[in-house]
């Protein structure tokens, strides 16, 4: 089921996307890998970043970019890329591991709480399909549902019990897929989390320059952005601290 859906999804995506010159990207990617091997980390990271900026967001690419930034001692960017990769694929082992390693460099890193079992389940469910997979599924089940209805309307004598059950299941699945599709879409389009990019950032008590400093955050700390004005963002930390800081210091995930 999943395979077929992904296949359909991939097909749809292929149709949707302009078929770009894939070998070119692969060449770039391999060049960056080569540079990484030669310990020219900043250059490698630059190429990876270019590919990412072009709109490619394969977890492997993001992890490689994170590795290069990590080696180039840009912990903030490394963590940003690892988090991105985990956003794409929360069960990516190397991204998880490397993020943990990179977080060791972060001063004042507060451990995230481990997810509860139902959060884990939810995460697994949301990543069962890609957002477009959920949408495609919703369409397919909707069609099945309608087909069932039509069959019931037009051919009343065609095994009505089986048809009725089938339609009920199809409608339930349609609702599920549609809900999941919407929630994944919302999830993918809310940028409520961010990584601190400045090496030392003063967190203020109010969104203006004159307010007093409350505490300091170091590069690479993951924060929750709860509110924002034009220039200042309100952040909260896993340990409950909140404060305002300039939005330019945060890179939203």
């Amino acid at each position: 089921m999943k395979k077929t859906l992904t296949a359909i999804c991939a097909l749809l995506l292929l149709v949707c996307n302009v078929l770009s010159a894939a070998p070119d990207q692969q060449q770039q990617f391999e060049k960056a890998n080569q540079l990484y091997k030669q310990k020219q980390y900043s250059e490698a990271a630059g190429i990876y970043q270019q590919l990412i900026d072009q709109g490619y967001s394969q977890p492997q690419l993001l992890v490689n970019a994170g590795n290069a930034w990590y080696r180039a001692n840009k912990t903030g960017l490394a963590i940003y890329n690892y988090e991105k990769a985990l956003g794409e694929d929360p069960f990516n082992k190397s991204a998880t591991h490397n993020l943990a390693v990179a977080n060791q460099r972060v001063e004042g890193y507060v451990n995230d709480l481990p997810l509860l079992f139902f959060q884990q389940w939810w995460l697994q469910l949301t990543h069962f399909h890609s957002p477009n997979g959920w949408a495609t599924g919703a369409i397919i089940f909707f069609w099945l549902l309608i087909a069932g209805f039509i069959a019931m309307l037009i051919v009343p004598s065609f095994k009505p019990v089986l048809l009725r059950w089938g339609t009920a299941v199809a409608s339930l699945l349609f609702i599920l897929y549609l809900t999941m599709g919407i929630s994944t879409y919302v999830l993918a389009n809310t940028h409520s989390e961010g990584i601190i990019m400045g090496s030392v950032v003063k967190v203020k008590s109010a969104p203006d320059q004159e307010s007093k400093d409350m505490f300091e955050l170091h590069e690479g700390v993951k924060v929750q952005v709860t509110d924002a004005t034009q220039e200042y963002c309100k952040i909260s930390l896993p340990d409950g601290k909140t404060g305002w800081l300039a939005c330019g210091e945060i890179r939203r995930l």
Binding site: Q60, Y70, I146
Partner: protein, 661 residues
């Protein structure tokens, strides 16, 4: 000689007087010494010999040694005084002769004897080397030569004595450097020059001086190859007195260091350098005529005896004008000293030897016998004794695997200024039990090299048995420092599927088009169904509505057949008309029609039995006429009338029933 004994008697009497006056004062340290101004003299050179009684209580007699080989030029003259130094009072009596050797050679002047407090005491003997006269280059010669010209010999000797005892006076023509060299030097004393690695060596740097000097140490030795431990010296430095070749020197200890060689071979002790500023009194003018007589001199001395204070210095002191002071800088340094350090013997060296040299004792103890895995155990090893305590390494302790061992905490307790260095060093090993059960900590062994017996010695403690009970924290997670734990994984180098993240299908029009499409289909299906339903419903209605008409039309056909006399066709048509009417009116398919069904239906429609019997009579007549052909025009007419009546009655009845319903 007669004169001598008389003067001694007088002198002794005056001594008694003095001592009586000062008897209340407690003597400090008794010393009876012989000293000479010079122990290497030329044949015709006069020199001075002095017998000094310090802090001697109740001196009752004094016997000078026999001076057979010398000629007494002057003396005995006596001098006495007291001094208070650092709150300690001391008094002294000195008897001084000026003598001249008669022969060349080495002579030993035996010590003088005196009776003090009833005991006979003797001073030390002095060896004098007499050489041929007029030897130039000898330090003392030029110093001696010039005063002799202007002064009588006796006077010059006395001056010499005063100068040595009291202050540095530089006479005309005296060589400053030679004088300094003779009277100030530094020396390093070591207690041994050949020793083992790690064995203690005591080095003492001393400044010897006979002149008033202001000294400062400018270069301290670095002691390369040694571990040094200084002994604290009193500040300000205390002078001691030492006699070198019969000459009194004030000795200041500059530095006293305990050294422990760290390597074998020939090691050099660096020289120490001392800057001196010697204050010398310079006599500008020699005035022989003026003589200030000391009033006390008459009390102690007979007129024949020469006045002890009658000398140029005291003249100067009272009259001043001829004296100038000179500050002479003078730098001295010790000769470098070499020390041979032998390596420790390799044979029979115990495994547990870690470099301790000396004489040691070791105790080991643990602070508890039973503990839980949550607690910590402390193994305390104390090594005490004499030797290189400050360099001790902890004894090797074989901790079983059931314990986590941490680096020992080292506490030193070294006795201050102890020589040889002694004290103790304490090693505290903190041990964390990891597993419950009975554990045994093996005996602690400590070895050292004993210099006295030239052998290695080992001390062993008892092994310790510890009972470990399981604590709350039974299993502790060991921190994982395995290879890949703290390094990032390697890059992905494979081929990627270069597909851009597309737009979200959910917000694309396609999604909604695709959703709308089946809805349209559904709508189409609904329309179709409705249409079909409508059509079906409409046909039935018309049939019902026109059932009467159809029946009447059939009956018209039947009427034609009646006129034409075709009775079979007539009955057929009549029967069909009735049945067709019933079929349409009662919504019963033609095929399903039966009398019973029609009766039920009619009963349902509450049609009165009268009409239904008429209907069934008609139907029966028709069937009878069909199967028993019998041409009867009247009957045919009657049947026709009956059929029309039944249909119109039924029509009325059914209409009524419908309206009722």
């Amino acid at each position: 000689m007669n004169v001598t004994t008389v003067s001694i008697r007088k002198f002794v009497l005056s001594l008694f007087f003095c001592l009586g006056a000062f008897s209340c004062l407690q003597a400090q340290e008794f010393r009876f010494t012989t000293s000479v101004s010079n122990n290497k003299v030329a044949l015709d050179e006069p020199f001075q010999i002095q017998f000094m009684l310090e802090n001697a209580p109740n001196v009752t007699s004094f016997t000078p040694p026999t001076l057979n080989d010398f000629e007494v030029l002057q003396g005995p003259s006596q001098m006495q005084g007291q001094s208070i130094m650092n709150g300690r009072r001391s008094e002294y009596i000195a008897v001084i002769y000026v003598i001249q050797p008669k022969r060349v050679g080495n002579f030993t002047i035996p010590g003088a004897s005196a009776r003090s407090n009833g005991n006979v005491v003797r001073s030390n003997p002095v060896t004098i080397e007499v050489v041929k006269a007029n030897r130039s280059g000898y330090q003392q010669s030029p110093q001696q030569a010039s005063p002799q010209s202007g002064f009588p010999p006796s006077r010059s000797q006395r001056q010499q004595q005063q100068q040595d005892e009291m202050e540095g006076v530089l006479r005309n023509g005296e060589d400053v450097n030679a004088k300094l060299r003779k009277n100030i030097f530094v020396k390093v004393d070591v207690d041994k020059t050949s020793l083992y690695e790690g064995e203690q060596l005591t080095a003492t740097y001393k400044l010897y001086t006979r002149l008033p000097t202001n000294s400062s140490v400018t270069k301290v030795p670095a002691f390369k190859g040694f571990s040094a431990k200084d002994i604290e010296l009193p500040n300000p430095p205390q002078a001691t007195e030492e006699t070198v070749n019969g000459m009194h020197f004030k000795v200041f200890t500059i530095r006293k260091t305990l050294l422990f060689p760290l390597q074998s071979g020939t090691l050099e002790l660096d020289p120490v350098e001392v800057d001196n500023h010697v204050k010398l009194v310079k006599l500008v003018k020699n005035n022989n005529n003026r003589k200030a007589r000391d009033p006390f001199a008459d009390v102690f001395n007979d007129p024949g005896f020469k006045d002890p204070f009658d000398d140029p210095f005291f003249d100067d002191f009272f009259n001043r004008p001829e004296v100038t002071y000179e500050d002479v800088p003078y730098k001295v340094q010790t000769a470098p000293l070499r020390v041979t350090v032998k390596p420790l013997p390799v044979d029979n060296r115990p495994v547990s030897f870690t470099g301790a040299v000396g004489k040691f004792n070791m105790t080991a103890s643990i602070d508890k016998q039973t503990l839980s895995t949550d607690d910590a155990l402390t193994l305390k090893v104390v090594v005490s004794g004499q030797g290189n305590v400050n360099l001790l390494n902890g004894p090797k302790v074989d901790i079983p695997a059931g314990f986590e061992k941490y680096d020992p905490k080292v506490t030193d307790n070294i006795e201050k200024n102890s020589n040889p260095l002694s004290g103790s060093r304490q090693f505290e090993y903190a041990l964390m039990p990891l597993e419950a059960g009975d554990q045994t900590i093996p005996a602690v062994e400590f070895s050292y090299f004993d210099v006295a017996s030239n052998s290695y010695k080992s001390i062993r403690s008892q092994p310790f048995t510890v009972h470990v009970t399981p604590g709350k924290q039974t299993k502790r997670d060991k921190e994982d420092f395995s290879v890949n734990r703290n390094t990032i994984t390697s890059n992905y180098n494979g081929v990627l599927n270069w597909v851009k993240q597309g737009r979200f299908l959910l917000v694309s029009p396609l999604f909604y088009v695709l959703l709308l499409l089946p809805v349209l289909l559904l709508v189409a299906a609904l329309i179709y169904r409705r249409k079909r339903n409508y059509q079906q419903n409409n046909a039935a209605f018309l049939k019902h509505r026109f059932a009467n008409k159809v029946a009447l039309k059939r009956l018209e056909l039947a009427a034609r057949y009646l006129k034409e006399g075709k009775d079979k066709a007539f009955y057929e048509e009549t029967s069909r008309a009735v049945w067709g009417y019933l079929s349409n009116k009662l919504h019963i398919p033609f095929a399903d029609l039966s009398k019973q069904l029609i009766q039920d239906k009619l009963a349902q429609q509450q049609v009165s039995v009268q009409y239904s019997t008429q209907l069934f009579d008609l139907l029966d007549d028709c069937e009878m006429a069909l199967y028993t052909p019998m041409h009867n025009n009247d009957k045919m007419q009657g049947t026709y009338q009956q059929a029309v009546a039944v249909i119109s009655h039924l029509e009325d009845e059914l209409l009524r029933a419908k309206s009722v319903v």
